[in-house]
Every structure is written in structure tokens, then in C-alpha cells.
Amino acid sequence: MLKLSEITKTYKVGTFGGKSLYAVRKVSFDIKDGEVISLIGESGSGKSTIGRMILKLTSITSGSIEFNGQDISTIKKADLKDYYSHVQGVFQDPFSSCNPIFKADRIFEIMHEEFFPSMPREEWDEKLVEALHCVGLNPEHVQNKFPHQLSGGQLQRFLIARALLLDLKFLVADEIISMLDASTRIDVLNLLADLKSHGLSILFITHDLSLGYYISERAVILYKGTVVEMGETDKIYHTPLHPYTQMLMASVPHLDHKWEQKTTDLGGKVEDITEGCVYFSRCPLEGKGEQCRADIPPLVEVEPGHQVACCCFQK
């Protein structure tokens, strides 16, 4: 359904924009119909940028994104609406997603106006009630309220309902759980999983590995804008191959068992890497060598459905 091919995003930095900084570097993966992919990475790893590029909120420096075979960068302004009727996003902060001076319902009004201008009011209202029920909200409890009068969980479901009003095929869910409280976040997660079972494809962007594990079939691990490992969730989680992924997995606080090894890698100052393996400076592997410093390791498939970008697996 959605195919990312070597997409790259660079930003000009420095006083006169003389330097480029990679936010995303040659990232390729695809998402099939009805599939949930977790995009996992630390803050600043470029995961949100990828989501925004898919949503055409950020331009792509190079590479392409295809939606059902069409390169989305070629979509004309007039056809953009059509694209958005299939591809939508929900963001981290539900409060910031609502225009603070208007009531929360206004986001639905806009949808009505923009996508279904000819639909009669009654029909629309029915559709809306249906969408709200679908996300588990009682319309009477949530309509005609200002955003701050709703809870984060309610509002987040509200925003998902907004997307559901459309003929939705693909949803970018960017950290939509992280600002919710423990007792309600799982419900939103369940909702996404439920939608998925109805055929929706979801790019689930998160830094929380347990959430990713709960919901997705496949996971993409991102480090400094580069995919270091990707594949089926089980494989990634249980047999991580890349040293970074291994370190991540070892750092996950599990409820039922304690961390096994002590962390030695505390992370130093952030440095700019333009050449070689992005993880080189932190890589604990014995086998790292000059090659790692010089070349960017490509993703290689080490077992079916499990790719890793590490020199140690280059054969």
C-alpha cells in the first residue's frame, strides 16, 4: 500500500546554511494493507519526520514515497484532498491538535466542509455519531465542548474518529499514546488494533518498545535517521541483531524481570555523523573496524523477514 524508497531529509544548518544535517537518511520500507508497523526510535531519530513526509507536511529531500503505486510527491494540489481522504494522521498532543479558541467539534465541521460539502446535515450527523461510537465515545458526553474540557484520552479518540469519517486506508499515529495516562492509554491502543483488523494500515510511531510489541506485526528500528534493523516484531524483540537494538531491548524495563546487565553506555555528547556507520562511536562490538567507520552498512536480510544494517552481518 505504502512504499518508502530511500527517502532522505536534510536540513541546512549553520549561520549561512552551509552545512546539511541528516534528519532521515535513505530510509526504505513498505507497509501492506491491514498491517501495523512500529517505527521505533529515540527522540531525534527522525521517526516523526518520516510520518510527516508521508503526510506531505514535510518535503522529501530525495527518494520517493508511493501510495498504491503513485508517487505522492507528484500529487497535484487539486488531488491532495483525495490523498488525504485515504491517508490521515493523529499526533502526540491531542490538545495541540485542536484550535484552542474553538470547540473540539469544529474539527468535524471542517471535515464536513472540506470532504463532504454536499452531504445534508442529518446524514452527516448520523455519520459522525457512528464514528464517535466506533472510537468508543458517547456523543452526548463529548459534543459541544472545548478541548480542555475533555480528557486526553477522549480527545485522542476524538481525533481518531475524525480520521474515520473518511474512507481511510492509512493512518500515521505519531506517539499518540505517550501523553495519556496509564489507565486509559491501553484503550486507545486497543482501538487502533481494532481498526487494523478492519483493514486499516497503521504506521505506529513510538519510543516505547512495549507498546510497539503489543500492536505491530513488524517493527522498524531507527537510529539517527537511519534504519538499523527491521523485521517481524517477534524477531526484532527476541533476537535483536544490531548492537543498538540489543542495547535498547536490554534497557526496556520489564515488569516481571529485572535488567540483566548493567548499562555501561551512558551516551555522550551528540555528534554529527556524515560517514560510516551511525552507531560507530557507541558500538560495543569487538569486530568493529575501519570498514564501519568508512562505509554505511546497507540493510541485509539475515533471515526471512529480518533485516539488519551492521557490518558484522555483511556477507
Binding site: 496509564a182 512495549s210 510489541y213 535488567w259 551516551g267
Partner: protein, 320 residues
Amino acid sequence: MSLNIENLTVYYQTLKGEVHALEDASFSLTDGEIMGLAGESGCGKTTLGTSLILLNGRMRYIRGTVLLDGQELPIWDNRGMDEFRFKQVSLIPQYAMSAMNPTRRIGKMVHELIEARHEDYNEIMPELKRRLDLVELPQEVLKLYPIELSGGMKQRMVMVLSTLLNPSLLIADEITSALDVSTQKAVVEMLAEFRDRKFVKSMIVITHDISILSQVADSIMVMYAGQLSEKAPTETIIRHARHPYTKLLISSLPKVGIKYSEEILHGIPGKPPLLLDPPIGCRFRDRCPVAYEKCTQVPPFLELDKDHFVACWKEFEEHA
């Protein structure tokens, strides 16, 4: 007993009235205990933590006593608390990292802080250097500005600073929430190490992330809407929680190994009550699946098993 708290009640003053943020909290901490304090946002955990060191302008002490090493902390008296702060009880506040003055070199800041506590900077210097080494911070860090440090470095610096005078009690408020998982782990491990090295006698680690607590805490105390729900050794809370809220909370946590396709987790329906005019009795009553008439009275916080305190009528009934 390192820390002994009885009936501590602290309200917030707002224009609309008083927010009953902490109601009759009674619990204690043994020497060397790291207690995790968990709960949803607005449950009063930060109020509890900060009230032990500094009541801010809007906080009002209502009642209760706090004994630290057998000595009563005059927490209602801002001046009186001065001699305890930093020396007896220390706090790593939420967002401590961003609270550092960006225009001051770290060393200068430390200097001022030490002087403010009437201690000799030069006397403390060797110990400071030793501890910087311990947390793997180069000594040059004292010559840097906060902006030059990464998040993890700043967090470590704050930790060294707040424990420099070997306080009896350290309160760490959400110190990991803004960090990436790997840094998170390092910081949490450091907490345990500080305790092991006796830099601090006991700790209260406040966080909404129970899985972090499960790694480091000896005991976990769960709060709900300003009331204590349950306190028990970590293992007990995670595996044999008795309070319905704790049970539901633990069961709603996704963990690596649980997939939606295999096991569907559930959240807790409903919303926490507003603390401006809190419901009488058990405040979890409205969302509790096992609530009954008795719950309109406030349940006491009773020790049902050794070191296992619960505030739930239903549990009392079954236990009896």
C-alpha cells in the same frame, strides 16, 4: 525507621477553592529503602514528594507529622525547613535538567549552592570530584555551561548535586520521563548505586512508569486521587496486588511479550474525580468493579500482610 509520616494532608489553594491533593497519608520508610511512588497524573504523588521539602506558594499544610530519623520536620515552616533541606532531605525536581541557569557555569552554580547551605566549597570539592568520577562525568563538566551537556549528563549532574551532602532522604520526581530508554536505565541504576554507597539513606522515586520502579524500587506505593491505595514490596505489588486499582493498573500495562493478537489488555473505565470537591469515602469507588456500600467511608491504610498496606474495604473483608 528512616521516615515516618502520619496523617499528612496538604491542599492546594486555587481561585475556585481548595484542591484536596493529599489526604491523610500515613506510611514509613526503612533505612536503605527505595520506595517507588506511582499513580496517574494529578493523583498527588508530586504533592507528597515536594511537601516533604518545600511547600510552594499555593500549597497549604493542613495536618500530619513527618518524622525523619526520629526528628520532626517542620514542613509548615518554610524558614525552619531551611536547615533540613539538602542536608537531611533533598529533592530532584521534575524538569530539574531544564531548571539549571543557562548563563552560569556548572561549577559556579555548585559553589553558590554549597555556600547557601553554609558549607565549605573547598572542603567538599574532593568528594564532589570523587562522585563525578563515579557517575562517569569528567571534572571539566564544572567549567561547562548547562547547555553544553546532553540530557543524560545533566540528569547525572543534578543527581550528584542533590546528594552531595549525604541527605537522609532523597526524593526523585519523574527524573526519567524525558529520557530515552537507554539513558533511563543508566539513571535508574545510578539511583540504586547511590543508595548502596550510602550517599542517601532512603529514597522516594516518583514516576508514572511502574515498570521503571519494578527495576529499582524495594517497595512501591500506589496513590489514587490524593489517597494512598497500597504499599508493598515491589514483587508483591506486581504479582500479588490486593487493591482493585493497583490490580487494574498493573494489568493494563503493555509489556514486551504481550501482543494484542494474543491477549487483549484493558484500561480502567472512567475518569479520576476532581479533587476540588472529592467524593466522600474511597475515591476510587466510581471506577471500582467491586465497590459496595461500605466504600462511602474512607478505608484505613492497613497492614494486611507484613509490609503490605492496603486501603480497601473489600480486601479487609476477605482478609478477615
